[in-house]
Symmetry: C2
Subunit: 191 residues, 2 copies
């Protein structure tokens, strides 16, 4: 059993909380009113849109030392939906890891729409969470929580692969916004 803090009360945060609790782990949810509160979880999911990450760091950054911190963001230019706003040779997750040198930062959940987390399936496939990170124990911890909650997990490699995960999330979002894919679908993993 793992204790998980989820910062963010939107649809992604709610869907991830349901996965965590249905797998027997415990959840603490923190919203904007909880600025300054030190998250109690061993795993802290930053379930906020990319533009809110800086404020989350300001509010909670000191309390993230020693924890597994999960970045779920897709750092799109939400005005144009035509580019990412992070440097082309980096990622939101890499920037977060640089800002949190005492945390184990993972990239996960950015390629799974909320509906596919809530329903545990994408079409006829089990929903698969791709997890990138540099710490094998941290990845295994999150994978265990995810799998206990009824999803599949795949180790997507080092945190440097967050760049590709963010490209995948970007592509998937542009296709959904453009009506080419439904918000209940997207890229499923066929293992």
């Amino acid at each position: 059993m793992t204790h998980v803090s989820i910062i963010g009360t939107g649809t992604m945060g709610q869907a991830i909380a349901d996965v965590v609790t249905s797998g027997g782990s415990t959840v603490e949810t923190l919203g904007r009113a909880d600025a300054g509160t030190t998250p109690s979880g061993d795993v802290v999911v930053l379930a906020v849109p990319y533009p809110a990450l800086a404020q989350v760091l300001a509010d909670h950054g000191d309390g993230l030392a020693g924890k597994v911190v999960v970045d779920i963001t897709n750092p799109l230019d939400f005005e144009t939906f035509d580019s990412l706003v992070v440097p082309a040779d980096s990622s939101a997750a890499a920037a977060l890891a640089a800002a949190l040198p005492q945390s184990h930062v993972l990239k996960a959940f950015n390629t799974t729409f909320a509906a596919t987390l809530a329903g545990r399936t994408i079409g006829s496939l089990p929903t698969t969470v791709l997890i990138a990170g540099d710490d094998a124990d941290a990845k295994a911890l999150l994978a265990g929580v995810v799998e206990a909650g009824g999803l599949k997990a795949v180790d997507a490699g080092a945190l440097s692969r967050a760049r590709e995960l963010e490209a995948l999330g970007f592509l998937q979002l542009t296709l959904a916004v453009g009506g080419k894919l439904p918000w209940t679908g997207g890229f499923g993993v066929v293992a």
Copy 2:
């Protein structure tokens, strides 16, 4: 009916040729011995590994003017499988388009393993070819060939989205090489 030239005789070229002909279009296949031959197809698929693209351009570049040219490559560093060898803010397809200003360059087939083209399915899903390009007519022409051959096609947007398609292809290859995904699987599109 479309006449398609396929440059390259490997598994990807063979699988694409089968898709084309089973849909009622015609195929000419060109191998290394055909250097200097002007491709006769209205659509020319460069079904070669990324490191061979430069030689293909040297051999056939002049004959590609006015044609729809399809880049299927994944420009990986095949020694490390840890990065792409094109600039982070560009793509193999963008470089190809710059080298072929009189052609309509499309990115396609780089996210579908050969087995999923040959079998028309990825797991329980129909195999979907993601097509990026700046010319709508060119994309529609290729989509028609692909769909007649028993696959699905999705318009993935402008040629600038080739960067994300190449990231997706890269990620999928690293997962397959690492044993995390089978060569008959990968990322399926759930529409």
